[in-house]
Amino acid sequence: MAAVTEPRLVQAATLPRRWSPRRRRDARLAAVLLAPAVLVMVMLRVVPAVSALSESFRHLSLRTGVKDFVGFDNYLYLFGSSQFHSVLTTTLLFNLVINPVIVVLSTALALLLAQRLPLAGLWRSLIFVPAAVPGSVVALIWSTAMQPDGLLNSALRLVGLPPQPFLTSSSQALGSIGVMLAWGAIGYWMLFVIAGLKDIPVALYEAAMIDGAGWWQRLVSITLPLLRRPMAFVLVACTVGSFLAFAPVQILTKGGPDNSTTLLMYDVYTNAYQVGDLGVAQAEVVVLMALLAVIVAFQFRMMREER
């Protein structure tokens, strides 16, 4: 923020700051430079969000082709439908499990790989590499590996375990999708935790060692408390990502078997494109945005507390 208070060398001292021709020129140039960015952001982010909100209060009549204002009818329908209840429960439970798992695993990997190990860069890269794989490709790779005679079942057979149905079983499908998401995510989030670890002053550890603190004590009383901020960031960012999980459901399970993998994003998609009830789909988008807004607001609080 230094730029705001910086004294200007060339500025005419007699003119009031606000009206100097130079400042006016800057303002005009700024308007030109910012116009494309502001325009695309308004048209492609703000307008659709506002349109979702306004459309969520309307219903398109297939008979007359007219969009009627229906107030909160779409929301009432949504919250009254048992399908939506089950979608919401599935999505929330899924997130309650998958995100902490991703945070714990990526932190554990970060703690392991931030040490000075031979070839540490290589191990780190091998773990990071799945983050480069597009989400839809992650789904395709794992569905191939989870085939009845695929890689996972042969590995199970090797250690004497019976083959598993994975994506075709209603009790395993959601967990299988969780495995895919975690595989694609932990290496990515690990990097953020490593960055946080590097910020912890070495002197703290040295002092603790002199006081005779063991590995566990140093972890609990220095590392983890000082990692709170990066870990909170990772938790929230990866929750936003998991809330929007879509590709594996749409490509692999179509919400099944027995609705066991119908997550919120996929339900919005089916309401909009298969059921064709746009009003309800938009209401669902609004609910989704509200949920995410709560998460982001929570993120701000977590980040501020530390200061």
């Binding site: 040490q115 190990l117 290589l122 597009p134 395709l140 005679d149 595989w183 945005m289």
Partner: protein, 278 residues
């Protein structure tokens, strides 16, 4: 007080196991993609270490895949991601420069707007946006595929942070020497900002290359299909050739992988410095 040999050896072993387990599926994809059709399954029952050997393989899967619709989809993906990088960088550089260097009323407000908008996850509003795009007649066009990725507030944020770090004295000196505002941007700020530019470019590229929901919603005709969609469609065919799926998966993964391994430092720096320390 150096860590004992034992703890070092066990740490190394753990790192090896973790890296192996996480990387192995990807390696298996590569090895299996070199076996024609579904023959890779033969190496799995029972599982032998030869399943992970990319030896004696053939490029049949790749040649079949690349002679079909997938080739065009791949070119589309390159075109769309490339155009996004170029246009997205121009938009973001101009905006970031204004926010970092120029002094104008309402600057704080515009910056707050950029931050707020970059927090709206695109996928959440993709479905309402696709409705708007069909009324704007942008469905099934390249413009329709490229535009949404250009509204990347995060790349503006990353570049602004970096531009703020350019010493003010340098900019003032350039001004005294008679360089205009845009001259300063092109001659002084941009050459100094290569790492941030690479980071932002990668961010834009990956957002397009990895996208699935948006191209699914908008790119309906085969002529404008992107590679992830083409590959997913291939997998839902009645007669699935998994070898081709794995070959396509490898192609789609190896492109961002090479970029990331090559520019890892710039990418992760641009992410971690902004995401954590703000």
């Amino acid at each position: 007080m150096r860590p004992s040999v034992l703890s070092r050896v066990s740490s190394l072993a753990a790192a090896l196991v973790a890296a192996g387990l996480i990387f192995l599926p990807l390696w298996w994809v590569f090895a299996s993609s070199l076996r024609p059709g579904n023959t890779f399954v033969e190496y799995l029952t029972p599982l032998s270490w030869t399943a992970f050997l990319p030896l004696g393989g053939s490029f049949t899967n790749y040649s079949v895949l690349l002679s079909g619709d997938f080739a065009r989809a791949l070119l589309n993906s390159f075109f769309v991601a490339g155009a996004t990088v170029v246009l997205g960088l121009v938009i973001a550089v101009l905006a970031a420069y204004a926010l970092a260097v120029l002094d104008f009323p309402g600057r704080g407000l515009v910056f707050a707007f950029v931050i707020l908008v970059s927090m709206v996850p695109f996928d959440a509003i993709a479905i309402p946006l696709s409705g708007l795009f069909s009324t704007w007649r942008l469905s099934d066009t390249y413009a329709g595929l490229i535009l949404p990725a250009l509204a990347n507030g995060f790349s503006i944020f990353v570049l602004r942070q970096f531009f703020l770090g350019v010493p003010r004295e340098l900019l003032d000196a350039a001004e005294v020497d008679g360089l205009g505002r845009l001259g300063i941007l092109i001659r002084i700020v941009l050459p100094l900002s290569k790492p941030a530019l690479i980071g932002a470019a990668l961010m834009l590229f990956l957002s397009q290359w990895q996208a699935y929901l948006w191209p699914l919603l908008i790119g309906t005709s085969p002529a404008k299909q992107l590679a992830p969609i083409a590959l997913a469609n291939l997998s839902s065919l009645y007669q699935v050739d998994l070898g081709q799926i794995l070959a396509g998966s490898f192609v789609l993964s190896v492109v961002p992988m090479i970029l990331l391994l090559f520019f890892q430092r710039q990418y992760t720096d641009s992410l971690s410095t902004t995401g954590l320390r703000g």
